[in-house]
């Protein structure tokens, strides 16, 4: 387990293939107090209400991903968008950020799509009172699909 690790909700893949979502939907990021390992990617209809969103100070409850696109290059389909920028340290920032989740904000139940580990050890929350915080999506994008 490492900071930045990610996983997909399996129902999200199902719904993507069912055409439940659109590129033009609002796709959002939220920080949660749940540890990465407790986020159940095999859950049926996982939704934002299944996790504990944290906010306060300079940490928003939801970050809408700007310039969200779904593109293909050869055998790779890439879901990508802009990073959310740096969150400045503040005494009022939440002290329980452990994971980040991507969800489809347009869906009725704010369907969960993917999750990332924010902690270095799997459990210790980030100290955002004394540290600026920058979360960036990987160079490969937000998530990818490959066709063999």
């Amino acid at each position: 387990m490492a900071q930045g690790d990610s996983k997909l909700y399996r129902d999200a893949v199902l719904k993507i293939n069912e055409g439940a979502y659109d590129e033009a939907d609002t796709w959002s990021l939220a920080f949660v107090s749940d540890t990465y390992t407790t986020l159940n990617t095999d859950a049926t209809n996982p939704q934002l209400s299944n996790v504990t969103v944290v906010s306060g100070g300079n940490v928003s409850a939801a970050y809408n991903i700007a310039s969200f696109t779904i593109t293909r290059s050869s055998g790779t389909i890439t879901f990508d968008g802009n990073d959310i920028g740096t969150i400045s340290k503040d005494a009022s920032n939440p002290a329980t950020v452990r994971s980040a989740v991507l969800y489809n904000n347009t869906s009725t139940n704010d369907d969960l799509i993917a999750a990332w580990d924010m902690t270095a050890d799997g459990s210790t929350a980030l100290d955002l009172a004394n540290n600026d915080f920058t979360f960036t999506f990987g160079a490969s994008g937000i998530l990818t699909a490959t066709v063999a």
Binding site: Q3, L8, V13, T86, W116, N131, D132, T134, L143, T146
Partner: protein, 500 residues
Amino acid sequence: MAFPADYTLLGKISTNTALISGTHTGLPLIITEAAFNNGDDIRSAVFGNTDNGGGDVRLSTDAAGLTQLPLEVVEWDTIGNTCVIHTSRDVNGTTSADIYIWGNNTGDTQPSVTGTYGRDAVWSDYESVNHFENTVDSSGTTPNQTLSGTASITSLGIIGSGLSLGNLGKSSVSNSNIGLASTDKTRISFWVNRTTDNSTSSFDENYVSLYNSGISDGLIVGVFQNKLVIYTAGGNTTSRTGATTLALSTDYKLEIVWDQVAQTVEHYVNGVLDGSAVTSYTDTSVAAAATSVYTVGDSPSSSDIGLNGLIDEVYYTKSITSANAISTQYNNENSLGTFFTSSSTAGGITVTGTAPSYSYTAVSATVDLTGEITVTGTTPSYSYTAVNATVDLTGTITVTGATPSYSYTAVNANALLQGTISVTGQTPTYSYSAVNCIVQIGGVELATSFSGQFKESEFGNTLRASEFEGNFKESEFGDMIKTSVFSGIIKESGFSGSQK
């Protein structure tokens, strides 16, 4: 060369909140090499990875470089590891503010002085800024100074280089941008080190003046009998002297704030109000309204005399005039080694997420054709070729419609054709070819032809208008075989039933 993409983060400095009073937006601050060695020593990282002259030095408020800060590089010496740079940043006395230092982009140059993050942006709230590294005015508002008399730039200034004066020297500029309106609030500040006391009982040492000698209107800031003095001329000529006696050969930061609307004057010595604020300061002249002369070091009046000593960092602003700003900037300039703490790590927390992925792979499939096969419509064609195989064609084969054509070719196979073959419609044609096969055909067949070599075969029930050609050994022809033709060799075979 883009920032931050082409740059490397070299280190971080953070403000010491104990030296900051109040909350400030875009407060100009000075940074020297002393700031890079209070905590982690980042001087090697900073000077070792930037160009001499500082062309590739950049500052930001965040570790990602998303929020760049304006920057003026006055000095950047990577040989001596010294620097004098200025930036403006939001700071307060509660939360430490970070400044990230970037470099390692050899060959790049500082942004244009008028650019978003260029020199002028540091001093956007200032009318005039003179560091006296040269005669350039860094405000972008007032033209550059001109030296005269005994004035000269010295590398041994108070902060970096400075202006050395010997009584009759001065630096000055004449420009219509310099002026005072009657509603202006004016702050003049400078660092000074006096070699001699030139003031007398009647006349001042004049250090900084904003004066229109043509109309004898303006203000002069200097020292009178070893105390800070402001002198304003014009509508109601007057002056006020501060409280603190200023020693010779000592660095002082001296400032005055003149509020013409509130009719107050404040003297500041080393960031602290000197004595009490002067009230009812009634000179409300529109000083130096037209083309004025902004002079450093000498007097516009022939009666007065100038400075014999050093003067440095001479600033003129109408905006940044609060006591908290004055205190904070003094602490910054006077405590270059402690106003910031330095860190070798970028600090902050940066998390880069991996991209989860799912994949599609088509897997080779098993095609299973069993059970009932129904074909409706055009003429189907089935071809079964069994080579050394057991072919099991059981069940019901139903053809509706046009004339079907069935072809069964079996080579060295055991072909079992049982069940009911029913054709509705036109006359069907059946052809069975077998070589060395045992063929068992039951049920009703019409106009069927059998050719080849059939061994131990059974042709049962009703065969009408059938043709048998070939070698039939040990075969049985049963029941009703009507109008059938046999050619070839029929050996050891049996015919039962009725044949016609």
